[in-house]
């Protein structure tokens, strides 16, 4: 019996875009609670841009999860890199509100005429089944590279 073929695999989301603004301006929007609220739609509680700082976001609740996202600043390098953990959900939920133990990383790179901002939201664990997908068009093996291709297409916009 082939028990190894069905595994869980961590997936990540990548968005990579260039902005016509200096890294310092973008950094401010990433690390000011008030500005975060304006573009992220959630203002953090207890946030300070210091590694080790614990803060929370509040979003829509689901089942036994009250919608609190627990975060910890992991890496704070001004104008270059900001990473924090993003944990939430409850074991009683599947789909939306299921347990998430993920990491959000913003990387800023100065480029001609502005800044390239790259977001990686990593640690999504999904079941994977190579056998089941081997012969399936539009399946796992196709979809994952497509997500990659989409982010690539947007990189220069």
């Amino acid at each position: 019996m082939n028990t190894a073929a069905l595994q869980t695999r961590a997936q990540e989301i990548v968005v990579d875009e260039a902005f016509p603004h200096a890294p310092e301006a973008i950094w401010r929007t990433l690390t000011s609670g008030e500005l975060m609220g304006r573009w992220l739609g959630m203002e953090p509680s207890g946030f300070e841009p210091v590694a080790g700082n614990r803060f929370t976001y509040r979003t829509t609740s689901a089942g036994e999860w009250d919608g609190t996202i627990q975060c910890e600043a992991l890496d704070v390098i001004p104008n270059e890199r900001f990473a924090y953990s993003w944990k939430g959900g409850h074991e009683g939920n599947a789909g939306y509100g299921a347990p998430l133990d993920t990491v959000v990383t913003f990387t800023l790179e100065k480029v001609e005429g502005g800044t390239r901002l790259r977001l990686v939201h990593s640690g999504f664990v999904l079941p994977r089944n190579d056998t089941a997908y081997r012969n399936m068009s539009g399946g796992w093996n196709k979809v994952v590279p497509r997500i990659g291709a989409m982010t690539g297409e947007h990189a220069s916009s």
């Binding site: 019996m1 082939n2 028990t3 073929a5 069905l6 997936q11 989301i13 968005v15 875009e17 902005f19 603004h21 200096a22 301006a25 973008i26 401010r28 929007t29 500005l35 304006r38 573009w39 992220l40 739609g41 959630m42 979003t59 829509t60 689901a62 599947a94 789909g95 939306y96 509100g97 299921a98 901002l117 977001l119 939201h121 999504f124 999904l126 079941p127 089944n129 056998t131 089941a132 997908y133 399936m136 399946g139 796992w140 979809v143 997500i147 989409m150 947007h154």
Partner: protein, 115 residues
């Protein structure tokens, strides 16, 4: 907001995730997926659990749209339906959409505060 993730076909995702959350059931699904077709007797022989337990797992997998059955005489054969895993991709792609939207908001905000 993560609200977007809630608007997708959550019932289907819930069922798929629930169905695959159980390690024994996941093993049953994998056993089916690695065969063209398989019946309960053979699944029971190779899964190490009772036939009753296998039947229960099959019921969950069917409900989640992960397997289909084909009756033949007194036998029922099961086969994997990989399309059933599609909702999981939707779930991930909604987080993808979440961040794309936020990037668009960020672009607007930056124009405003750093013209």
């Amino acid at each position: 907001m993560l609200i977007h993730a809630a608007m997708i076909q959550t019932s289907s995702i819930d069922e798929v995730m629930r169905a695959l959350a159980d390690p024994t059931r996941r093993a049953v699904f994998e056993r089916i997926a690695s065969s063209d077709e398989i019946n309960v007797a053979e699944l029971t022989r190779t899964s190490g659990v009772t036939q009753g337990a296998v039947s229960q797992h099959l019921k969950s997998l069917k409900r989640a749209g992960l397997v289909v059955e084909r009756p033949q005489g007194r036998n029922v054969f099961y086969r994997a339906k990989p399309e059933g895993l599609a909702p999981l991709f939707d779930w991930l792609s909604h987080y993808d959409a979440f961040w794309r939207e936020r990037f668009a908001n960020l672009r607007t905000l930056l124009k405003e505060i750093d013209p």
